[in-house]
Point group: D2
Chain length 429, copies 4
């Protein structure tokens, strides 16, 4: 099943093929001067994949308002179709990450089958204990896995176990646990007792984790809690992963840190101590802005990938991070934002691959700070778009995915099929 | 009409009267040593007032979820009753600030009358062009007063004029304009053209402002826009007030600044240049957290009031700022949070009043940094609660307003009268 | 030997004794209402001690300039005398923390003896590998314990071992290691290799640590390195302490964190995992401003002490943190700043002691966020100065230490004895 | 006179000429597809110039230490030679900005002549009232232009007037005033009175400004003052420029803002209101880190230039900003850092020039946030190095300036001529 007509892709590619060939050839010449084989880079890029979040294909919002677009997906089946569009055009997003209970369905077999038909697999499962589902017995208003009340914690544990069960049936191999637990006022909770309760609850979940699964805990500085957050930073996150065991890893969301923090260094530390589980990619300027990956500080994204490629090339022990986008698309067509974000992640990976690492190590050992930093800048400055485009085209995707998406008229089509949704603000100010 | 039984207040006060008298007497003795007349301070505190936001009596939330409490107000009439509770206990919140269209009603006369019956007046009107109201012709998804489309701007202008009209009928004397206009991505809008459009639209509103009204523009660094915001800081806000004219002033929300910014200095600058319009009080640790005033950094609140009292005492020209609470109560009973926040504002004011200003000026002129700063700290360290409590009691309020509120059983009463609201997350992530 | 005349202290105290007695009595009455015995609190406060940094008694500066004051100490002997002044007046600073090589002397016996004569002991030793000492063989321009060159690392290791040796002779029991190692540009160093080298070097130092000593590693977000810092946060610091062994602990400097970070939570985590070694107290608004403790955000200081008292009262395993001031006094008389900072630390401790912990725990278990946070605020709002002053007076110190210091004319005396130092900027911009 | 042998430049260029031709041709082809004439861009880049700060050619430091390099310039004559090297290789830095009294000499005629001989002119003069010069009558410890004492203010005013006099003789046309005035503690100074004194002092300087000169005031959030700074942000800076008159403008240093602040928006506002005077370019991650321009966040630099090119192309009224580098080179050869920083500024300018502005405006008007932001990203992603290199080569500079500088052996030469300087820490902690 194909969501975007092969003919449209072919027609759009035909317009750009000539320029791409010329650009690819010239870039190949440039890279050859540096001793880099462009085809080898292209092959690695082609093999690279990043998961798409099911919730990302719907229009996001803020506490002030949400402004839906046309053709909003109504359920996980609609979402899968939207995700398929992204993968067909980029050839970089073969898996989808689900959020339970948002994506819960009665017939998991049908869901799995639909995914298979669209060429999509299922990435890490995401539990949700940061909002109350209709009819839920115990409220998460005051926390979930760290709640003062044992019954509420138990409910949250069971929800996570259910997510594992659903994931098993869909072929997922990981559970991502992000909780909003924390406080809004000094004194509201005891930091130590809260964290003890959290650890106990996570251990209960961990005991239900299949042997071939991993569990990812995700830290976040603040929001929805505005004074303290139970899993507030990578230090606490590392302690969690260590306390739980070998299948427990830390997940890094790029937008979940304090201002000015050196995130690539955190990535390096987690790799060094064997606990980097994966990423939620996005970009941000202020808080957890959840903007399109690479849209605010592309160099920072590159520096993260520089660490990843470094680890990959030195074959760091236990290094196998999961890559996922996690964004909120408030003012763009979510499919377009995910397309370009997937592309940006590929771009940063390609730029990381063309860093001249032997030269870099030499400059580092010589304390030649200028040439060391220029070595990274040179890789970053290189316009690797021809590599990305060639890899996409060769895999059946689009040279220019956004233009092709627009040419295909997908949004108009679903806008006709799916009912319009009224926007509005929830009075949440 | 009284929301809280006078008997309950009397009974609760009776329990605390003895201690209060003793504490007040001893504090009077301490202040007398510094040459300060406690009764004079008390009289000023008693005359102080801060407005309560109508939206503040409902439970707030985040983009992730909202967890309503029991007895949520259903409309502006319920909200007025809740506001009356706050004023009856604190005697510090005689006015309510409305938000349109949230508080729009067919019969404004009835609303005004109800307010009068409850002893409540109406403070600044707040327009809303940061979310789409049902049935609205033009969407504010891409802005309102600065929107690229003239018809959308016109709609936003008319909405503000309507707010003025409503306010006139209710006895309000000011319009507060906060817009969410801005962008999520570099390039999304042209900063200069956007601001020109904003200024044009504000001028159109200004032309409709009655002679005895003021218009307050409110700056905010970010959220809901995550890359740029049209009215992003006090510098832009000052330019707006100057461009508009003598009735235009800047409103300062304590949570709308960049990390580490010295807010009290901004307050001083706006006073010096005659453009401080007023405040939205709250507290925050990370972003626009909208926490209870004084709950995170009480010394910062004091330093703001130190500037206000300084301006008041030197009779700074044109100094007459409006004071309003603006908070989001996500995990507390909103009435309780507003009670203590009103109290905190009074506390900071009282602490500002007992700063020994002549001594302070002397230390400043002598560059005696240590004694100058200790002079402020001494005022801040003084526990002025007896002054606040005595002022409340003498005005018919409660010595301990939260305890009295709980004793009165108001929340239970309205929980029985008002239907429960289901919580939940909007899928806005 | 006494630096401040007992007569001056007695005369100054005599002026304030009456008021103090009255205030202490009334505070005792207030605390008794809450079930708190003021004398018990006073006894704990009297037993509390914080170390003074030897370098703190000289006027500090910035990279732009340094403006020395009158009577700058010329060497560690002058510094000890200045430190003695602080202790004689506050009775809270019985130990001094040395910095090597700044405080290196040929005759350690004489130094120890002088300390004993002044009633001063020696707290943690501080090594210095963030600047080059005259004649030093290998430069620390590009790092010390993490330097790419083995000989430089070895030199840094040996310097630390020398610090231990000096400390042994003086009766110190701890070594504090703060390094400036890091980079100014992305790529300048490999994060992982740098940290491996650092760990190796620290292990070499650790092997030379006496059995009854502790080693404190200190993290800092940035400065002097402006892109990355080897020991950048508590996460890395914790890893260090864990890798080294049971005698290794983390030191927390209040000014060494990212903006908005919840420091009291870090303190709680380190206590929970048995690795809190101690503190460098100071205050800051922007970066590592090294301002007087409690001068910018006194509530934050209280919240840190709230965690410390909590741990003390629940007898947290292995909890025995070292307390030290670490400040830069650029515009005040350093002795005065240290006097008031020592007092502020005592104040926060006293406020922590009067938190009603059983009630607090109850509110926490009930998710009564408002009353829980008010419980802390009530303790913080209480003016505990009478407790501090009474404890000082009873121990032979001054009721008002700064006023007494000024009355004693110590600064004038040393200004006459010690030659004036020219200020200036180093052209370091 | 030539500091770098023409032969070395020629020989180094010869090695790279072939590749450059090929790259330039291909880039020309790519840009032509977008309707951009590469030669026109190159001509604009060739005409672009940025001033070098005289103090920038010496190794900088921090309050902790300074680690000088080999061949440190001893005086302004040495500095001019170093600056000439930068210009000869980059052809982009034809002027030098002086700092008085650091660069004060008896014979200004000789200085001017030497500059002329090296092909260097003199950019804005910089006064220094943030440190005390030897023998200075009144200390700036507690401020300069805003000092409480009139005589100190007068001294600072006179120093600035002297800077103007020196500048007139050298052919400069602007005075940059950056002061460190501010406070370390709340209460230390009265914000309003301080600012009044500052404005009075600046007016006195302004009266002495020649008709064809401009005066630039520079704001900075903090450092060396750590609680408040008199000229703390662009809002205050704008007020200053407006109060002074038509020859007064605001100078923007990229590192002088609060965390997360949108600097390009400030630039746009100052342009819109006719008060953008110029820039101090550098880069930073935490505070005023003064790192090499473009080394931390190159996209932010591009976004600033996007505003500048936008203003240039729409011929914004009064738009003629001065461009200057202002950095501290602590771990690199300062000449190399200035070379690459000049290059980075040119790069950002070139990238700004190739933004497809008509398309951008169209996307903005259509609220096509994705394509608008991609339009900027496309320009930024384009590797414009061939344009920069070709412009340099054609003007007699080096295709690869840093490699050519190294090949020329200049640092070794001056290391032999100029005495070594011992590093060290000033005990300023």
């Amino acid at each position: 099943m194909s969501m975007i007509s092969r003919d449209v892709i072919a027609a759009e590619n035909a317009k750009r093929e000539g320029a791409l060939k010329s650009d690819y050839a010239h870039l190949g010449e440039q890279l050859a001067r540096r001793g880099i084989d462009i085809d080898a880079v292209k092959r690695k890029v082609a093999a690279y994949a990043v998961a798409v979040p099911s919730w990302g294909v719907g229009t996001g919002g803020t506490r002030f308002a949400r402004f839906p677009g046309a053709g909003e997906p109504r359920n996980i089946f609609d979402k899968l179709e939207d995700c398929a569009v992204i993968h067909e055009l980029t050839r970089a997003t073969p898996t989808v990450s689900l959020h339970i209970p948002w994506d819960k369905v009665a017939d998991l077999g049908a869901l799995k089958e639909m995914g298979a038909g669209l060429g999509l697999g299922f990435d890490a499962m995401n539990s949700n204990t940061f909002s109350d589902a209709p009819g839920q017995e115990h409220s998460y208003k005051y926390g979930s896995l760290s709640h003062a009340d044992a019954a509420t914690r138990q409910q949250a544990v069971e929800h996570n176990i259910e997510c594992i069960e659903i994931g098993r049936k869909l072929g997922s191999k990981a559970l991502t646990v992000w909780i909003g637990d924390g406080t809004n006022f000094p004194g509201q909770a005891d930091f130590t007792r809260s964290f003890e309760r959290y650890l106990d609850a996570m251990k209960a979940i961990y005991q239900n984790l299949p042997d071939d699964w991993r569990i990812f805990s995700e830290h976040k500085m603040y929001e929805p809690a505005f004074y303290s957050t139970v899993v507030q930073d990578w230090g606490t996150n590392y302690l969690i992963a260590r306390e739980l065991g070998d299948k427990a890893y830390c997940l890094v969301d790029l937008g979940h840190h304090a201002p000015n923090v050196n995130i690539e260094m955190i990535v390096a530390r987690l790799i060094q101590f064997g606990k980097l589980g994966g990423f939620h990619f996005n970009d941000s300027k202020y808080g957890d802005d959840d903007l399109d990956t690479g849209s605010i500080d592309p160099y920072r994204l590159f520096l993260v990938f520089n660490e990843l490629v470094n680890a990959e090339e030195r074959k760091a022990e236990g290094f196998a991070p999961a890559h996922m986008l996690d964004q909120s698309h408030n003012v763009t067509d979510p499919i377009e934002s995910l397309i370009r974000s997937a592309t940006e992640v590929c771009r940063a990976y390609a730029q990381g691959l063309i860093v001249e690492r032997a030269a870099l190590a030499g400059y580092q050992d010589d304390n030649d700070a200028l040439m060391a930093s220029e070595t990274l800048k040179t890789a970053f400055r290189t316009d690797v778009e021809p590599i990305l485009a060639m890899a996409r085209q060769e895999a059946g995707g689009a040279i220019d995915p956004v233009a092709t998406y627009r040419a295909a008229g997908y949004r108009t089509k679903v806008a006709n099929e799916r009912p319009a949704i009224a926007g509005g603000g929830g009075g949440i100010v």
